[in-house]
Symmetry: C2
Subunit: 124 residues, 2 copies
């Protein structure tokens, strides 16, 4: 019983994921997240617990679908900014790596990072 959440969690996580990809983890502020989701801090924190919780949830959701621009972005942000100090994120990425290890995953990661930095061109 009690009230139901009035927002669609997956929709919100998709928005949050796009934000993290655009600015990176540390450079994305809670004010940014509040603005882009339309939710208030209390709702975000009671749902996800912390900023890292928001990232973890967005990452997990994104990895459930097939690899796209957002999931690649979240993966490289995870490896550079989050995984080194968050075991849960490191485990998630490690799991993903195990399942997707192929001859050229490393190369694909590198290409995504080069795109992200605007060093080479790429869709969007």
């Amino acid at each position: 019983m009690g009230r139901n959440k009035k927002f669609n969690q997956e929709q919100v996580l998709a928005e949050i994921g796009k934000l993290f990809v655009k600015y990176g983890f540390n450079a994305t502020s809670l004010d940014d997240i509040v603005k882009c989701t339309g939710l208030l801090r209390g709702s975000l924190y009671s749902t996800f617990g912390s900023k890292q919780g928001m990232f973890v949830s967005a990452l997990k959701l994104s990895l459930k679908g097939e690899n796209n621009q957002v999931s690649w972005g979240l993966l490289i942000i995870a490896m550079l900014e989050v995984a080194p100090r968050n075991n849960m994120v490191r485990d998630i990425v490690q799991q993903w790596y195990k399942e997707n290890k192929s001859a050229n995953v490393a190369e694909l990661i590198g290409l995504q990072l080069l795109k992200h930095g605007g060093i080479i061109e790429g869709g969007q």
Copy 2:
């Protein structure tokens, strides 16, 4: 005339570079830099102008030598955290990419990022 700087600029930049590699750009605070270099904010700012200036100087210096763990680290941080909003850094990395473009640069970048995130093992 006038006083000479009493610190070795290249030594200081090497320390700063290591810090940036360890924590990333955004997660490295000026207090961190002050502590690790032994310099005070005023000296740092009168020499490098800004935090981004410190990063640019450390990156340039590191790329003058041959590729090592620090220069790889600075490059991936540059691409993910700095280049998207700093044209100078983007140009530096682009220049580096032009000079080092080989069949497997992208793969090397990907491997470095996987190492950085602790996803695969690697020296140190």
